[in-house]
Every structure is written in structure tokens, then in C-alpha cells.
């Protein structure tokens, strides 16, 4: 695939921002953007206009709340829909986050009918991601599935950049599970902890191999 010129990319920048390019055209333009900050900036301006166009559309309330059917559809097929109040407490603990991180909230989990206060039952675990000086810089949430699914969220103190995510087993052996990018002070990653069956901790590791923060799951 040849790399198009800046002139060609600038002509197509509005279409790119609107999502109006065909797949091959889009791939060509995006390849150019990777190495051209000035074209990136221009596309960013058009993208801002494109976002604003969607902001024009008025909000509307559906006749029924969408949470119940969506939550029902999220249940794995064939699995019992058992729900436990204990899990609700775990979920609440998961998301009753510390003020210092800016990750903040108390959530009330409900069952599919919208009337109760229970949550899904997977062995949900949660822990703060803690950096130097015991600063909480984010959160990690894991499910009880096999292989374990993890969601890591960082939004405080960690400098922008790419970080390796390593899962540690009970023996302290670390295995890479993914890469988390922090941009604008924030980053999220979710995926399976495939190499480690039962991770007891997850670490964010910088390019130099330093552990930036750690979440203790067990």
C-alpha cells in the first residue's frame, strides 16, 4: 500500500472524520496519519466537528429502561442466573472507589427486574492499583471465569505511555497478559489473563521494567 501525500490526505480528512471513506481508503489515510502530526491535527479538528454533529441529535427516553434486557442478554447461555447478595456487596465494594483516584462512586446493583439489589454471581474480585507511596492510581476488576477476565483502569499519577500488564501466579512468577496505554492521564485494558490460571496480582510495568503499580487480587 503506497502512502498518500499530505495534499491527498487533507482532501480526504473530512470524509475520514465522518466515517464516509471506504475501507481501503481509510486504511491508506490512517497509515499516513501515523507519521504525520500536522495531518493528524487537521483530522482531529474535523473529527471534533463530526462529534458535534452527533451532539445535535436530541436525547430521548425509551418507553422501558434498557438495563434489564441488556443485563439479561449478558448472561451466559446455559448458566444459572443465580444472584447473591454477597456478590452485590462485592460489586459495591468494587466500585466504591477512593477519592484520591478520581475513580469515584457507589453503585447500586439490581437484578433483572430492576427491583432488587443483587448483582451477577461470578466470583468478582476487585482491588486498587497501588503505586509508589501507596497512592491508589486506578482499579482492577476480575471475574471468576476460566481463563480469568480482567479489567484494569488507571486514571491518576501514571505518566502517559505504554505499559506492560503482567499477571503473577502464587509463586510470584509474572506472565505478560497485555499492554495498557495511558493517554491524557488515563488508560483502560480488558482481556483474559490466559497465561496465568489463578493470578494473585497484576502489575503495570514500564518500558524499563519498573513496576509502576500493582493490584493485589488474592
Amino acid at each position: 500500500m503506497s502512502t498518500p501525500s499530505c495534499t491527498s490526505v487533507r482532501e480526504r480528512a473530512p470524509d475520514l472524520a465522518l466515517g464516509a471513506l471506504t475501507g481501503p481508503e481509510r486504511a491508506e489515510v490512517v497509515a499516513h496519519l501515523d507519521g504525520c502530526p500536522s495531518c493528524q491535527a487537521l483530522v482531529g479538528e474535523y473529527a471534533s466537528v463530526a462529534d458535534a454533529l452527533l451532539d445535535l441529535v436530541p436525547e430521548a427516553q425509551p418507553a422501558t429502561e434498557l438495563a434489564a434486557p441488556v443485563l439479561a442478554a449478558m448472561q451466559p447461555r446455559g448458566r444459572s442466573r443465580r444472584r447473591h447478595r454477597v456478590a452485590a456487596l462485592v460489586a459495591a465494594a468494587t466500585l466504591a472507589l477512593t477519592a484520591g483516584t478520581g475513580l469515584t462512586v457507589t453503585l447500586v446493583a439490581r437484578d433483572g427486574s430492576g427491583n432488587g439489589s443483587t448483582a451477577t454471581t461470578s466470583a468478582l474480585r476487585s482491588a486498587p492499583m497501588v503505586g509508589a507511596g501507596d497512592v491508589t492510581v486506578g482499579r482492577i476488576v476480575s471475574t471468576g471465569d476460566r481463563p480469568l477476565k480482567l479489567a484494569v483502569s488507571v486514571d491518576y499519577w501514571v505518566p502517559d505511555g505504554h505499559y506492560g500488564l503482567a499477571a503473577l501466579d502464587g509463586n510470584g512468577d509474572a506472565k505478560a497478559v497485555g499492554v495498557l496505554e495511558v493517554s491524557g492521564g488515563r488508560g483502560t485494558w480488558s482481556g483474559r489473563a490466559t497465561p496465568v490460571d489463578r493470578p494473585v496480582a497484576v502489575q503495570l510495568v514500564d518500558q524499563a521494567g519498573n513496576v509502576v503499580c500493582r493490584g493485589q487480587l488474592a
Binding site: 473530512p14 464516509a20 479538528e45 454533529l53 436525547e59 427516553q61 468494587t94 439490581r110 451477577t120 491524557g184
Partner: protein
């Protein structure tokens, strides 16, 4: 009141946490449903599409890239694309005509300076700018930017050559980009 960031909520939603899911959906459902309804004009279909949009967000949360925009924008684009795909099975005549979208109407240019309660919306600049764009360009950019038409779709819908459709979209986008830059200090 403590409040999770959109990104953190999405992370919780992605691993199937019920509380995070419910809060995420409550936070965005009126925008998601609003987009689906605006494109389809069918309440039942819009609800189905909104549900599907949330399920796609749950399944594909790892595709969210904060460099490319906010969680809200990512979710809205998922919804718009679903709605546009759904409408592709419909005759072209079923699509809304951009000239009939009341919410594109420009705000009043003059407001009573004595009325302190009148506050400009964040997108008033855009409504005004669209009002200043020639009709054929406004139609093209709304079809592409709101209703998700490709340039080829715009050409077919407007019965014009593809090159003309692309020109109209680009000219309109360029005017809106400049209008946004001009409005920036005032916002």
C-alpha cells in the same frame, strides 16, 4: 455525589459487572436511544438497536481507544452505525430528509440580554454555522455526519455524481471547522 469516570464504568461493564452495567446504561441510554430514534423514526426498532448497541459495547469494550474520542462518542457511533445498517434494508424513501430535522434549526440569533437564564447550548455555534452553509452542502454533511451515509450513499440519495457529493461534504465540513475555531473563544 461520587461519580465514576466513563472509562472506568466501561471497564467494569466490559467484565460483566452488573452494577457497572446498570450505571453505564443509565448514563447513556437517552443519548443512545435518541440517536437510534432520530435515524429510524421507529420507537420499537430504536429500543432494539439501543439494546444491541450496549451489548456491542460490552463485547467489544477493548476496541475503545481514548485517543480517538470519548466513551460517549464511541458509543454513539456504534449506535449510529447499527441504525444505519438497519435502515439499509429499508427503501431510500424511509430515510429522513435532512430538511425535515427540526433539531437542526438554528437558535435565535438575538437573545434578550436581560434574561440571564438564556444560555447558549454547546452546539448552538454548529446550528448557526449549518444555517449559513448552502442548502445542498448542509444536506450532504447531515446525511454523512448524522445519518451515516457514505459519499456514495449521498450521491445516490441526492441524485448527483460521486465527485459532487464529496465536494459538498468537504466544503461544508471546512466551513464548520472554521466556525468551530471562531466559536472556540466564546465557548
Amino acid at each position: 455525589m461520587w461519580r465514576l469516570t466513563d472509562e472506568a464504568l466501561l471497564a467494569g461493564f466490559s467484565v460483566g459487572d452488573a452494577g457497572a452495567a446498570e450505571t453505564f446504561i443509565a448514563r447513556f441510554q437517552s443519548r443512545v436511544y435518541g440517536i437510534a430514534l432520530a435515524i429510524t423514526h421507529d420507537a420499537r426498532l430504536a429500543e432494539d438497536l439501543a439494546q444491541e448497541a450496549f451489548l456491542r459495547a460490552w463485547r467489544h469494550a477493548e476496541t475503545f481507544d481514548p485517543r480517538r474520542g470519548s466513551v460517549a462518542t464511541w458509543l454513539i457511533v456504534i449506535t449510529r452505525n447499527l441504525a444505519v445498517d438497519a435502515m439499509r434494508t429499508q427503501p431510500r424513501s424511509e430515510f429522513l430528509d435532512p430538511d425535515e430535522l427540526e433539531w437542526l434549526a438554528p437558535p435565535a440569533r438575538e437573545t434578550d440580554p436581560g434574561d440571564a437564564t438564556v444560555r447558549a447550548s454547546d452546539v448552538d455555534w454548529l446550528r448557526r454555522a449549518l444555517d449559513d452553509v448552502p442548502d445542498e452542502q448542509r444536506r450532504a454533511v447531515v446525511l454523512a455526519g448524522v445519518l451515516g451515509f457514505t459519499a456514495q450513499d449521498v450521491a445516490e440519495h441526492e441524485h448527483i455524481p460521486l465527485g459532487t457529493a464529496k465536494s459538498r461534504i468537504r466544503l461544508a465540513m471546512d466551513k464548520l471547522r472554521h466556525a468551530q475555531a471562531d466559536a472556540e473563544p466564546a465557548r
